[in-house]
């Protein structure tokens, strides 16, 4: 395994997700420690000192988000675990929900205590069935064992966790879209300010954290910020769950200690390329991050301070490996079809722009492209950047520009010759 493990540090068996197994691993001891020996503010201090960065994609410091909340006030506060995992290439929250649901429940209990929350939600994407049954099962088990509900560990603290199931929408993963969805509407994201920690769900202060971000809380409180920071690098403390897919020999979820060499991760831990192919490029962290070539990642470490200067980011940890011979024109077509399908339609540049880009790429693939189409894709990407309420319009542009910058020749070839330079293949043949 690539470095030390904080979350995937146990053997997965048919029963390892149960309360009994979790307790045997020391589960819920940290909750007791937090409730009986720590003040809410101590926990937030610890989380801030840990330097934990959000794992949903933006790597925003969790402590800074939490520090805005006022746990002592009379106002109702909410916590939502964002389990609307939908960034293509990302499937690591699913691993936590299926295999370590009690780690999420314990972490949400500790976080709620720290933040003055009495009602928490897990917003889970609609298609996830087993993950839903596992997290709901864990919550039911916790209630039955007196670990959720009123007067926990003899203190006045109480918590209710509701699992809210989505019904098929990428935009619900955007924090403000998520709460709009819980409020019973289509998930139109909201303008900030006000920040959601000031006015969020039902107009009350709300913290929304990714599942993996929350799953780290128990470990941080158990070992203390100082110990936590001994894992990873100074600027990227801890670990990141990497979901790796595409043309790689051993796809799956890996917990990587920040600072681990990227090339070694791919070649040794993930077994190298599928069918011994050569790597053309890689999507580092969900399709909204810019692709990097093998040569570009060769000297890099898996940490934010190493990957960001290369013009990309680790994002949600959804890594997609692309072999030589893959048609980048058709690949971009898949991405633009997705963005067009998922645009919620609230902001004009995204609603219209996604459609334009999708139609342009369809036209190129149909052999009816014109040389100006490449400039048009650039122009629409630029026009979208920063002009929409949420980041989706920007993201589609980043993905497009990332591919066009590096593989422009394939687009020019396709337009000039009305066929792919790479046989139009997306698969990697043996």
């Amino acid at each position: 395994m690539p470095g030390r493990q904080l979350i995937m540090n146990f053997e997965v068996t048919p029963t390892s997700h149960t309360l009994e197994a979790y307790r045997a691993r020391g589960g819920y001891a940290t909750l007791e420690k937090a409730l009986t020996t720590m003040q809410p503010v101590d926990i937030t201090k610890e989380v801030t000192a840990s330097g934990l960065l959000g794992h949903g994609g933006a790597a925003f410091p969790v402590g800074r988000k939490w520090a805005v909340m006022k746990p002592g006030s009379d106002e109702t506060h909410y916590l939502c675990a964002n389990a609307d995992e939908g960034e293509p290439g990302t499937f690591k929250d699913r691993w936590i929900l299926e295999n370590a649901p009690h780690l999420l429940v314990e972490s949400m209990l500790i976080a709620s205590y720290a933040l003055g929350v009495r009602n928490a939600f897990v917003y889970i994407r609609g298609e996830f069935d087993l993950p839903y049954r596992r997290i709901q099962g864990a919550i039911d088990e916790a209630y039955a064992a007196g670990l959720l509900g009123a007067k926990l560990h003899g203190t006045p603290f109480e918590l209710d966790i509701v699992v809210y199931r989505g019904a098929g929408s990428y935009v619900c993963g955007e924090a403000s879209g998520l709460i709009t969805s819980i409020e019973g509407r289509k998930p139109y994201p909201r303008n900030r300010p006000p920040r959601l920690t000031v006015r969020g769900l039902y107009q009350k202060p709300t913290v929304i954290n990714n599942v993996e971000s929350l799953a780290n809380i128990t470990g941080i409180v158990r070992m203390g910020a100082e110990e936590f920071r001994k894992v990873g690098t100074a600027k990227s403390p801890g670990t990141q769950l990497i979901s790796i897919s595409g043309h790689i020999a051993k796809p799956g979820v890996y917990e990587v200690e920040y600072g681990y060499p990227w090339a070694r991760f791919l070649d040794e831990d993930c077994g190298g390329m599928l069918h011994g192919a050569k790597m053309k490029c890689i999507v580092p962290g969900g399709i909204s991050t810019k692709v990097l070539t093998r040569a570009e990642i060769e000297p890099l470490m898996l940490s934010h301070e190493s990957v960001n200067p290369a013009g990309s980011g680790l994002g949600s940890g959804g890594m997609i490996v692309i072999a030589e011979g893959t048609c980048m024109v058709r690949l971009l077509q898949v991405l633009l079809r997705f963005y067009h399908h998922e645009s919620c339609g609230q902001c004009t540049p995204c609603r219209e722009g996604m459609g334009w880009m999708h139609r342009i790429i369809d036209r190129i693939v149909a052999g009816q492209g014109v040389p100006e189409d490449i400039d048009r894709l650039y122009a629409i990407s630029e026009a979208n950047d920063g002009t929409t309420i949420c980041g989706m319009g920007d993201a589609a542009g980043y993905a497009t520009v990332g591919i066009l910058n590096k593989f422009r020749d394939e687009f020019e070839y396709f337009i000039a010759n009305k066929r792919s330079k790479c046989d139009g293949r997306l698969e990697c043949l043996a």
Binding site: D129, A167, S169, K186, S245, I320, L331, V334, F338
Partner: protein, 160 residues
């Protein structure tokens, strides 16, 4: 939907008073699970029960891709065609299902047994390509596995 009201009442207790609209999505999901789709009488009933404007129920119903207002086949096959699945053979999967079932995406076989949909990322990229059959994920699908799966479903359909 009337017989589901006792269930909805329990759900209601867990949301703050005055925010009944939060129940629209969970209630619609439950109704669809029960009936297979959301009927006109369900919409009318839910509007009446929750005291929300009809447009709010219509908004949720029309936006979210998993909700439907018409019945579909007994087995709903949803093939992912996003990036990771496409890179692992999803186009072949969709092509095979079209041919084997004789229908295109969004269509139902005349016997009402199968409905085919083509969907975006299901969060199963490490075990691509993936096909959902009703609620269940079927991962690492090869054409051979797909063939067996459709055989099994067809046989199960006979026993209906």
């Amino acid at each position: 939907m009337r017989h589901l009201v006792p269930e909805f009442e329990k759900l209601k207790e867990r949301y703050p008073a005055g925010f009944e609209a939060s129940l629209v999505l969970p209630c619609l999901r439950r109704i669809q699970e029960d009936r297979g789709f959301v009927a006109e009488e369900d919409i009318v009933g839910l509007v009446d029960y929750l005291g929300v404007p009809r447009i709010q129920v219509e908004e949720v119903l029309s936006y979210y891709t998993m909700l439907r207002r018409k019945p579909i086949g007994r087995f709903h096959l949803q093939a992912c065609r996003n990036i990771a699945c496409s890179m692992r053979g999803a186009e072949g999967v969709v092509g095979y299902l079209r041919k084997r079932l004789g229908i295109g995406p969004g269509e139902t076989t005349p016997d009402g047994r199968f409905t085919l949909s083509v969907v975006e990322c299901l969060g199963s990229c490490g075990t691509a390509p993936v096909v959902m059959v009703n609620e269940a994920y079927h991962e690492d699908m090869s054409l051979e596995k797909l063939d067996r799966l459709v055989d099994e479903l067809a046989a199960a359909g006979e026993g209906k």
